[in-house]
Symmetry: C2
Subunit: 345 residues, 2 copies
DNA sequence: ATGAAAGCGCTAACAT
DNA sequence: ATGTTAGCGCTTTCAT
């Protein structure tokens, strides 16, 4: 195959150990030896075989990041942050798509890619609690996102209920009374969107004059702009007549705004809109989007740190109780909710 | 460490070979043996150590994809396509950021990650031809994107000149006469944006009445929405008074549209806009964006196929002449260039 | 400061 | 159909 340590050693007239020492920057090597070896390395174009090194060391320096898909800018931006942060810590990232499918998620949750990766960061959508319990305890696993589990794994997520409540309250504070929720999922109580829906309900409940009927909750099949556009159209057609919409995510919000504009409904005058995720997209819409901004940088760092703590922290760290880390979030006000709040509620 | 083949073999009372046969689905194993071994595997929760397998086989089934960054939706969508397509062929993707920095790109171009990856797909920005020539011929390398090199590597890119010419001509066909180009890079002749600029020039040159002054070419520092917004502002302030803008990419176009809208310039009535990349974003802008759509799926597939051909195709394939593959593109007309073309030119 | 040799877990050639 | 064994390329005791 390629050039190995042995080849270099033979050519330089030293043992493999010495070459290994040079390659790894071991201190106690005579400058003369080092130079000679280095010269042969350059001559031969030797590159250490990482696979062999990994096998020997029992570690690869690779972590896997399993996300639904990169087509969603939120996940792309998050992956960007994870890759960059991990690179700074000398870890590389293997990126996998689950497509939000349970079978795929199960595959990763259970030790798929065993001993190829040192650990896994997984953002599940359909994964069930039982799937996690069935896991052979392999590499450490860090969970990401809104789904909640009772399993012994670290979990990184902002407080989704609080964030949704903040978003909804912002709309109510503007004097809106018919605040719709876009992006629920039918009959999936513990699933994604559940916590955000709960936050929405909580804010509505606190606000005496606010409408709280189920006709204000619109389900979507997925989380894309197209789903948002369709759901908004259905909501409008149903006669629900909202004066504000809180959307499960920014993509749905952008789609909803598109439908509103097409139908001559003004944003924010007639209907105010709030999204969730703070994707770059929302900042440059012609009506820029008010949104909940989860601190992606913090999420990415917390996820990687949690993983590495279990990897590098020794036995106590590896055995420590699972932690639930809640990075912060912020409400970013933009044009889609412009307007002064009413004096009285 | 974990459970190895040997452990399973001992427990099942067979040799490692037999266990290996079972694990790899080798046909000639008595059902009884197979079942017994499988049972022990399940009991012990055995998982093959992929690193060891890779070392032994000299192949890892991993390809690296090195992109500037995932924050740009074009790259995110492209990565999405690469990952999905590679997964279907049982390859996994290691995703690396170059941040468009030459030193990073050089690192990957030269056999970084040697023998950890079977091959590399690289989308360079600053990489120079000499960097490629200095490459120790390690794993196969496939180049992606507008930069052109004279180096023995496959290159996948749409015909950027033709695409830019198509885009610009579309604007001219609308009767526009002062078509600006947004997204050039100062004094970087062979760099990104060069080919698209050339396509712009070609279209203008073909169109007798069209303005072709340098004041219509606006440089940007990067390729983000913010860069586009700023460049558009500068162009407007400079008094160049364009009636159309062809942008290096969709992000710049979205930023430009934002500036135009803010300044009360109507799109497309006063200024028509065309982008490049066909990111999802552009489809749902309140004024949806006309754009050049490179066939991302085709690009991703061509890149992976080219790599795998060299990997799996035997010696002839590995030594074959470098190929320059040009997937197709399409002009997608949307609202940002709406309006009937003028009768006479 | 350097060398010799064991062994990480697997596959494949060879043997039975 | 199954067992034995060498060896992928590296790091790491243990010697010297």
């Amino acid at each position: 195959m390629g050039i190995s340590l042995k080849d270099v050693a033979a050519r330089a007239g030293v043992s493999v150990k010495t070459v290994s020492n040079v390659v790894n920057g071991y201190r106690h090597v005579t400058p003369a030896t080092r130079q000679r070896v280095q010269q042969v390395i350059d001559e031969l174009g030797y590159r250490p075989n990482l696979t062999a090194r990994h096998l020997r060391k029992g570690r690869t320096g690779i972590i896997a990041l399993a996300l639904p898909e990169l087509g969603n800018p939120y996940f792309a931006e998050l992956a960007d942050a994870v890759i960059s942060y991990a690179a700074g810590l000398d870890y590389i990232v293997l990126l996998d798509h689950t497509n939000g499918r349970r079978d795929q998620e199960v595959l990763f949750a259970q030790g798929f890619r065993a001993r190829l990766i040192d650990g896994l960061i997984l953002s599940p959508i359909e994964l069930e609690n039982e799937d996690l319990l069935a896991r052979g305890n392999d590499a450490p696993l860090v969970l990401l996102g809104e789904r909640e589990y009772e399993a012994p794994h670290d979990h990184i997520a902002i407080d989704n209920v609080a964030a949704a409540r903040t978003a909804t309250r912002h709309l109510l504070d503007l004097g809106r009374r018919r605040v719709a929720f876009l992006g629920a999922r039918h009959g999936r109580v513990r699933r994604v969107a559940h916590l955000r829906l709960r936050g929405w309900r909580a804010a509505i409940a606190e606000s005496p004059g606010a409408a709280d009927g189920d006709e204000l909750v619109a389900a979507t099949d997925g989380y894309t702009r197209g789903d948002g556009a369709q759901a908004m159209a259905r909501l409008l057609d149903s006669g629900a007549a909202p004066d504000a919409v809180f959307c499960y995510n920014d993509l749905i919000a952008v789609g909803a705004m598109r439908t509103l504009t097409e139908r001559g409904v003004r944003v924010p005058e007639d209907v105010a809109v709030v999204g969730f995720d703070d994707i770059d997209d929302g900042r440059y819409c012609s009506t820029s989007l008010t949104t909940i901004a989860p601190h992606k940088q913090a999420i990415a760092q917390a996820a990687v740190d949690a993983l590495l703590a279990r990897l590098d922290g020794g036995d106590e760290a590896a055995q420590a109780e699972p932690r639930h880390i809640r990075p912060g979030f912020a409400l970013i006000r933009r044009e889609s909710t412009l307007g002064r709040p009413l004096e009285s509620g």
